[in-house]
Amino acid sequence: MLEQKIIIFVSFGYMGLLFAIAFWGDKRAEAGKSIISNPYIYALSLAVYCTAWTFYGSVGAASTSGATGFLNIYLGPTLMMILGWPILRKIICISKINRITSIADFIASRYGKSATIAGAVTIIAVLGIVPYMSVQIKAISTSFQLISQYPNVYMVQTATTLSGTKDTAFFVAILLALFAVVFGTRHLEATERHEGLVAAIAFESIVKLVAILSVGVFITYGLYSGFGDLFAQAGRVPHIRQLFVMEVNAATFTGWYNALFLAMMAIFLLPRQFQVIVVENVDENHLKKAVWLFPMYLLAINIFVIPIAFGGMMYFFEQCSSDPVCKQTLPQAFDGILEFANGRVDADYFALTLLMAKQQQGLALFAFLGGMSAATGMVIVETIALSTMVCNDLVMPVLFRLPFLKLEQQSDLSRLLLIIRRISILVIVLLGYLYFHYVVEYYSLVSIGMISFAAVAQFSPAVIGGIFWKGATRRGALFGLLAGFFTWMYTLVLPSLAQAGFLSRDLLTYGPLGVELLNPSHLFGLDVHRLGLNQYTHAVFWSMAVNIGLFIGVSLFSRQNAMERRQATLFVDVFTSSVKSEKSSFWRATASVVDLRTLLERFLGKTRTADALALYAREHHINWEKEFIADAGLVSHVEKLLAGAIGSASALVMVRSVVEEEPLGMDEIMHILDETQQMIIYSRELEKATKDLEAANVRLKELDRLKNEFISTVTHELRTPLTSIRSLAEIVHTTPGLDTQKQHVFVGIIIKESERLTRLINNVLDFQKIESGQIQWQMTRLDFKEVIEDALFSTGQLIKEKLIDLTFDISTLPGIVSGDKDRLIQVMVNLISNAVKFCHAENGRITVGMQVKTKKTGGNGNEKGGVTVFVKDNGIGIDKGDQEIIFREFRQVISGSKGRPLGTGIGLTISKHIIDAHKGRIWVDSELDKGATFFFELPLLE
C-alpha cells in the first residue's frame, strides 16, 4: 500500500524542486550568467512537446495499432527539424528583430500589426488547445488515482469512482493553474523571455525521459531478458502478432500521413512550442544543434514504447484469459480497454499499471512522477503562452476601448497586466477541466490531442505563406483562419459534443436538420469510406482546403495597406532586406522623451524603464538631461520594448498615442523609398497621391474663395429688400400726415419685400440642405404638366403685375416622370421668376414650353425618351462665356461682366442640383440682348 500522503508529498516536493530551479534560473539571468544559453538546454526545452500524450498515450496507441499508431507524431517533428529548419530559422530571425511575444503576435505583426488577426489567432489557439489541456488533466488525475490504490490496477467504473476522478481532476486543474501562475507571472518581463521557466522545463524533460527509460529497461531487461526475448514471446500472442505488420489500406494510409502532417505543423505552431522554439530562443545558432538533438530525444523517449505496450499486453492478456468477464468481452481487435470482473485496465496507463502489478513501488512512483512531469510542463508553458496572448491581444485591446475605465490615465498598468494574465491562466485551465468533465471520458488520450493539432494546423497557411509570399494580405489571412477554424469546429468539435450527448446524435447520422450534405462527418457528401478518411482526416481535409483556398484567393483579390506592405517586406526579406528594423513603424516620428518614459513606466514599471533607457543611452551616447525630443530611432526602440510586454499590435497603438509624425517631405520620401526595388513602386503611387493631394488642395482653395464670394453675394441679396423695407418703414413711421394712399402703397411694398426676404432665406437653407445631401427626396410618378400649372399659379401675380405677355408651347402628350413634385415646382418657379425679373422692361414676353420625346420619336431604338421643359424670355440675355458659370456653385454673373446679374446665384444652383438628382440635365441658350431660354430635360417614365 502506497499512502496518499506520500504521493502528495513527493508530488509537491517535485514541484518545489522545479520552482527552485526556475528561481535560480531567473537569478542567474539577472546576473547576466544565463544557464539556458546553450543548445542542449534549448533542445531539452523543445521536448515540452512530449506531454502525457507521449508518456501514457503512445503506449495505448501502440497497443491498439502498433508502431503505426504513434511514431508519426514524432516523425513529424523530426522531419520538420531536419527538413524544415529553414522555415524555423526564418521565423526565429523575424521574431528576434520584431520582438515577437507569441504566435498570435507573429501572425498579426506580419499582416500589418492587425489587432483583429491577433484576436482571431488568440481565440483559435485558446479554443483549440482546450481539448489538449483536458488530456493532461485526465492523465494526471487518472494516474494519481491508480497510484493511490496501489497495488490494485483495476479501475472500477462506478458512479462514485467516476465522480471521484472528476473531483481529483478538479483539484489537479486548480493546482496546475496555480503552479502556472507562480511560474509564469511573478513579474512582467521587459523582454518576452522567461529564463527560469525554460530551465525548469528542461529539467522536467530530463525527468520524464529518465522515468520512461527506467520503466522500459525494467520491463525489457527485468521482466524479460532483452528485446529479442520480449518480441519472441510477444509474437506468440495473436493480438500482438497482428501489430507486427502495418496493415496498409486506404484508411491507415491517409490517416498516417494526416497525423504526420499535423505533427509537423504542431511542433512550431502550438503556442507552447512557438514559445520555447521561437520566443525563448537565446541564440539562433542553438537551432543548428537542436535540429539533431531534439530528434535524438524523441527517438530515446520512444524506444521503449513498444516494449512497454507489448509487456503490458502480455501480462494483462494472460490475466484476461483467467478472468471470465474479460475473456468474453475481449474483441478481435484490441481497442485499448480490457474489462475485468473487478474493473477495467486502460492500455494508456500500462507504464504505470504493469509496474504496480509487479509490485515495483518505487519505480511506479517514479513513473507517476514522470507522467506528471510531462503533463505539468505542457500545462505551464501552454497557459503562459496563451495567457500572454489573451492579455495582449484580446483583453487589453478591449479594455483600452472602454472609455469609462480611463486606462489612458493610469500611471502603472503592469499590475493590471499581471492580474489579467493570472485570471486568463485560471480560465484556460478551467476550460480544460470542463472539457475533460463533459467530453473526454469517451475518448483516448491520443484522439483528443489530435483535435488540438488540427486546430493549430489552421495557422500554417498564414505563417508559412506569410514568410515566403509578400502578396499574402491581411484579409486573406483572416478569411483563411476563420473559415478553417469554423470548419474545424464543425467537423471535429461538434461531433465530439454530440458524442458526449450535448447535441442530438442524429446530427452525425442524418446531418443538421436532416440536410445530409452538411453532415459534419462527411461534409458535402464526401465519400469518407471509399477514400479511407477517418474523422480527423476528413476534418483536416476540409478545414485546410477552405483555409488555403481563401488565404490565397482573397489575398490575390485584396489590396495591402502601407503598413501591411512594409511588414510583408520586413518578414519575407528578413535576411536580405535593407529596411532597417529600427525604422519599424515610424519613419520620421518624434515624441517628447518624457511622454515616452511615462508610457514605458505604465507597462514596465519605473525600475525596468530606467534600466532599459539607461542601456539605450549608453549604446547611443545620449544624455537624457539634455535630450528632450526623441528621434525615430528611440521611438521605435520604445515600441519594441512595449511590444515585448503587450504585443506589437497594442504597442503600436500606445506609441502612436504619444508620437507626432512629421509630414514627409518629397525628398525624404524619395530617399527612403529608393532603398529597395519594391519600394520604388510605392514611390510612384506616392507621387501620384501627392499630385492628387495638390490638386485637392487647389480645389479646396477655390472652394474657399467661392464660399466667400457666396457669402458676400447672399448678404448683398439680403440687403436689397432690407433696404427698401427699412427706408419705407422709417418714412411711414416719421412722416406726419402722410396721405393714406401713399401709406398703403409703401406698406404694400414692405410686405412684398419681406416675402422676398423670406424666399431668399429659404433658398439659402435649401441650398445648404441639398449641398450637404440631407434632403429626403419624395419621388412619385407625376405628369410634368401639373408641375407647370402649380408653378404658374404661384408666379401668376408677379407676371400679371409686370404686364408680361405669357404664351405656352406645351405638348399634348403626357410628360410622365418620376420626381419630387415640390422640388420640381421650385425649379419652375425659379426659372419663371428669373425670366420675369429680367424680361424686357416695357413689353416683356415669356414662353413656357414642354416637349415629350418618346422612345419611338427618338428615332434610334436605344435612345431613351425624355421630357424637355423650357422658359424663354426676351430680356438682355447672357453672354456665351457666362452660360456655364451661372449654374456652378456660389457663382453668379455679377456686374463687370456683360449681361444681367442673376438675383441670388443660388436659385439656379439649387435648380441644377434638383435636376441632377432627377437624372436630368439643365442648360441655357442665350445671346446678349436677345433674351435667354432655360431648358431642362428629365427622363420619361414610359
Binding site: 448678404t715 440687403r719 436689397t720 427706408s727 419705407l728 409703401f746 429680367f838 455679377i894
Partner: protein
C-alpha cells in the same frame, strides 16, 4: 431754383422711398434703372447730385462714375454711391473713383438726407 438729384438704381422698390424723401426735401428728382440711361440723363438734365447704385444690369455704377468724372463739365457734380456691397474693398474702390461719399444699404433716411444737404451746402 430747386437743386436736381438723379437716382440710379435697378430696384424699383428702393427708388420709391428715395424719390419720396428727395421730393419731401424739395429737390427735383429723376430716376434711371440702368447705367446707360443714367449717363444720357446726366448729359441732358445736368443734375447737381447723383445717388448711384453699383450693381446695375449692363454697365455698373463704378463705370458710370468713371465716365462722369472724365467729363470736365461734370467734375463738380456730387456723386454718392448707395450700395449693398459693404466690404471695405468695395468702398475703397468707390472712393478711389473720386465719388463724394459711399453709403451702404440698408441706410437710415436721416443720414442720407443730411449727407446730401451737406454736399449741396443746404445745411440749415
Amino acid at each position: 431754383m430747386k437743386k436736381k438729384i438723379l437716382i440710379v438704381d435697378d430696384e424699383p422698390n428702393i427708388i420709391v422711398p428715395l424719390e419720396f424723401l428727395m421730393t419731401q426735401n424739395h429737390y427735383d428728382v429723376q430716376t434711371a434703372d440702368t447705367g446707360e440711361k443714367a449717363l444720357d440723363l446726366i448729359s441732358r438734365w445736368k443734375p447737381d447730385l447723383i445717388l448711384l447704385d453699383i450693381m446695375l444690369p449692363g454697365m455698373d455704377g463704378y463705370e458710370v462714375c468713371q465716365k462722369i468724372r472724365q467729363e470736365k463739365e461734370f467734375s463738380q457734380t456730387r456723386i454718392i454711391f448707395l450700395s449693398a456691397m459693404a466690404r471695405s474693398i468695395d468702398i475703397a474702390k468707390g472712393m478711389g473713383l473720386a465719388a463724394d461719399d459711399y453709403i451702404t444699404k440698408p441706410f437710415a433716411n436721416d443720414y442720407v438726407v443730411s449727407k446730401i444737404k451737406e454736399l449741396l451746402g443746404d445745411t440749415d
